[in-house]
């Protein structure tokens, strides 16, 4: 399966990027164990792999963020030893990280020219220069706007402009579509193609097969820090084959679980209004109910109030008007703790930061909700806390190092299992899950989905907010679409057409696609 090691491509040109036998260890984790990658100029090259396969680490090595413990790095055939990101930049490598490296309080233009500006910075001249550059590559942007005012898609374009501003010949994008709406993703694909046609090499890190097959020319698959397939032609490779390479065994294709036993109404939201972080209306009269034994899915383009809806139900955002009832009681003004006691499990979309505390250890994170149960008088009972944590780790099959180590070393999938495990362990009657499978690998997604379905089957009311329409169609018993802070349509997931749902998500409502509530047990 592995090609012969060569240092030139089929045309006899040296590869734009050639990584050979890269090793990188972190405390307790081997992120790269002899990974290889060869990318030709003028192509869009996918680096595929599940979470924890070592994709991001490998790319950070290419970008000079990490230094490899062993291995060789060639750019255009020449060996380089990057010691800082500046070295990689100088060699023509631009990286768009998953977490954007942008300064919110700076303008777009300032962000683009940072590190590559003239000695004296003239506002008007850099703004027009950035505008011209954007135009040349078909990127829509406003150079004088502050980055904090931009959407995620717009911010990503600023990141790409940064690389182009330095005339990067090699552009690395780490999971670029994770923050984009489907339409924005297509625009991105067009920009990347534009760059490849310009003779640049584009490296596209992803675990979404569909994007890889539609955006990319070649694919390299990583598994467990090693390259398991190098530079496969995407055209002549089947998507299932790629999936097989990623997981090492055929992936479980999600089937629709049999419906549950629907019972009484456990979550009811009535005429709910709230503001977003900028003080603008985020929810505009939300009406929804979730009954015992059903999963209600919320679809929508990011930024239409889904985040705020989850936060309001969890008690993390204040309400302007309207009510939130949990298990039949009005809990609109209850504290998060009161809601937890009333049987609410909350899986926030920000896994680290809101869901888990990155610097605390596994045990402390495991008892964040229930630490009062692990006390002896005013003191924490370490034994009982450890036992509780060990139980979570075993039951939810979380792969961790020592429990008293910080969770910073855990992979995304294991972090999510820890979080979901903590929230679901006491079988809450209402579960609010916001983007619970985002960024997880195939097995991780399946595990989390199964847990949600299992909760539903024992009678929980599950509100599932997701940007993955396939997931929603698979799991939901009812599917609601949010747009501009309102529920604009309801669909029967088994019969709904994706196109119609898409139109509702985009806010193009003729009234025709709104299905009256006819769902029964």
């Amino acid at each position: 399966m592995r090609n012969e090691l060569t240092s030139t491509d089929t045309l006899g040109q040296p590869f734009a990027v050639e990584l050979q036998g890269i090793w990188k260890r972190f405390p307790g984790v081997v992120a790269n164990a002899g990974a290889d990658l060869r990318v030709s100029a003028g192509t869009v090259h996918a680096v595929l792999g599940e979470n924890g396969a070592g994709k991001s680490t490998l790319m950070n090595i290419l970008a000079g963020v990490y230094r490899p413990d062993a291995g060789q790095l060639r750019i255009d055939g020449e060996i380089h030893h990057f010691r800082t990101p500046a070295d990689a930049l100088a060699a023509g490598i631009g990286m768009v990280h998953q977490e954007f490296r942008l300064i919110p309080s700076f303008t777009v233009a300032d962000n683009v020219v940072l590190g590559a500006a003239e000695r004296i910075v003239r506002r008007s001249s850099i703004e027009s220069a950035v505008g011209e550059l954007a135009e040349r590559f078909g990127i829509a942007t406003e150079p004088d706007r502050m980055v904090w005012q931009l959407s995620m898609g717009e911010r990503q374009r600023v990141e790409i402009l940064k690389a182009l501003w330095r005339d990067a010949q090699i552009l690395v994008l780490d999971e670029p579509t994770a923050v984009l709406t489907p339409g924005e993703a297509d625009e991105l694909a067009a920009v990347l193609r534009h760059m490849a046609n310009d003779g640049r090499a584009v490296i596209f890190i992803s675990h979404k097969l569909q994007e890889v097959t539609s955006f990319c020319d070649e694919a390299t698959v990583l598994r467990g820090g090693k390259t398991v397939a190098a530079s496969l032609s995407v055209e002549s490779t089947d998507a299932t084959e790629l999936a097989g390479l990623m997981v090492g065994s055929s992936p479980a294709i999600s089937e629709r679980p049999p419906p549950g036993q629907v019972g009484e109404e456990l979550l009811a939201v009535h005429k709910l209004r709230c503001m977003d972080d900028r003080g603008l209306p985020a929810l505009d009269g939300i009406e929804l109910t979730v009954r015992s034994g059903e999963i209600v899915g919320i679809a929508g383009v990011a930024g239409n109030g889904q985040r705020e809806l989850a936060q309001v139900i969890a008690g993390l955002r204040s309400v302007e008007s309207g009510t939130v009832c949990l298990t039949g009681e009005d809990r609109t003004f209850a504290s998060p703790r009161q809601r937890f006691s009333a049987g609410l499990g909350y899986i926030p979309e920000d896994r680290l930061g809101v869901g888990l505390a990155p610097r605390l250890n596994v045990i402390d994170n495991a008892i964040l909700r229930t630490y009062r149960d692990h006390c002896r008088g005013p003191f924490l009972d370490a034994e009982s806390a450890t036992a509780h944590c060990q139980d979570l780790v075993d039951r939810f099959r979380i792969q961790t190092g020592p429990l008293f180590h910080s969770i910073a070393g855990l992979s995304g999938g294991n972090l999510q299992r820890l979080l979901v495990g903590r929230e679901l362990r006491g079988h809450p009657s209402v579960v609010v899950a916001a983007q619970p499978t985002r960024g997880l690998d195939v097995q991780g997604v399946k595990a989390i989905q199964d847990l949600l379905v299992a909760e539903r089957d024992v009678g929980a009311a599950v509100l599932l907010i997701s940007e993955d329409l396939d997931e929603l169609l698979t799991l939901s018993d009812r599917l609601l679409v949010m747009h501009a802070g309102r529920i604009v349509a309801e669909f029967e997931p088994t019969t709904a057409e994706r196109r119609t749902i898409g139109e509702a998500m985009a806010g193009h409502l003729d009234g025709a696609c709104v299905i009256p509530e006819v769902v029964g047990p």
């Binding site: 800082t84 300064i103 309080s105 590559a116 000695r119 900028r278 003080g279 070393g409």
Partner: protein
Amino acid sequence: MNEASIIGLLEATVSFGALLYLAALGEMIAEKSGILNLGVEGMMAMGAVSGYVVALQTNNPWVALAAAVVAGALIGSIHGFFTVVLGAEQVVSGLSLTILGVGLAAYLGRGSVGRPPGAELVPVDWGLLSDIPWAGPVLFTQSPFVYMAVVAGCLSWFILWRTRLGLAVRAAGESASTTDAAGHSVAVIRMGAVAIGGGLAGAAGAYLTLSLTPQWQEGIVAGRGWIAVALVIFGAWRPGRVALGALLFGLTLALKTRLQTFGVEFSPILLSMLPYVLTVGVLVVISVRSRKRPSPAPAALGVAYRREER
């Protein structure tokens, strides 16, 4: 309250304002790069004593000023070393620096207490300008330090907001990893900013012993370093607003000794609280406004940066 005493009050306001402004500018530059330095009081004390002692030795006020700047920069660099290179807690290191600077200054200056100054920086004579009624005495017969403060303010605005270097400094204070990824060395930027900040604090200290007082005594800085720290917040990290704040806080310092002569019954102790009360007020305003827009404080202020942290 006659004309002369009002002119005297305004003159003192500008003098004290410039003193605070020099120190606050230094702190602002350090904070813009992401390093909170609570050692201003200590750096000022070291600048004050170094300037004074060197003036005694050399009788040259400019050499003395240079010595004060270097001393401030050096002791500031201690803070830089601990916080930037070693990633130490900035509040702890800054507080230690104040204790160290004040104590060391007292030790170094113990032989110079009460001695007549070796050299002074005398007020600049601007010729005709100095003869203008009101403006002449208030603005144009001031110590060279006042004009240095004005120049330093303009320069720091220009460098921070109109040059590549300034963009990098501000970026380091907003997000170190972004700045690093953009190819600037965060450590060099921050060390440089802290050292320059120390130099300006040293100059402010020298202003006390070479021009304002001019004498050395223990505790001569008398908490003005802390006012400078508050002033940076009051001025929302902008040189222009910090200048306005410096004049306002300078007025409170100038009033303190003159209240009685004006026949006003007001406790000078309460008056010296005023800068801090005003700063708390500004903090409240900032945090209320921050609901809609990012706070003017550098986002990475006080956060150490290590590259390979996962």
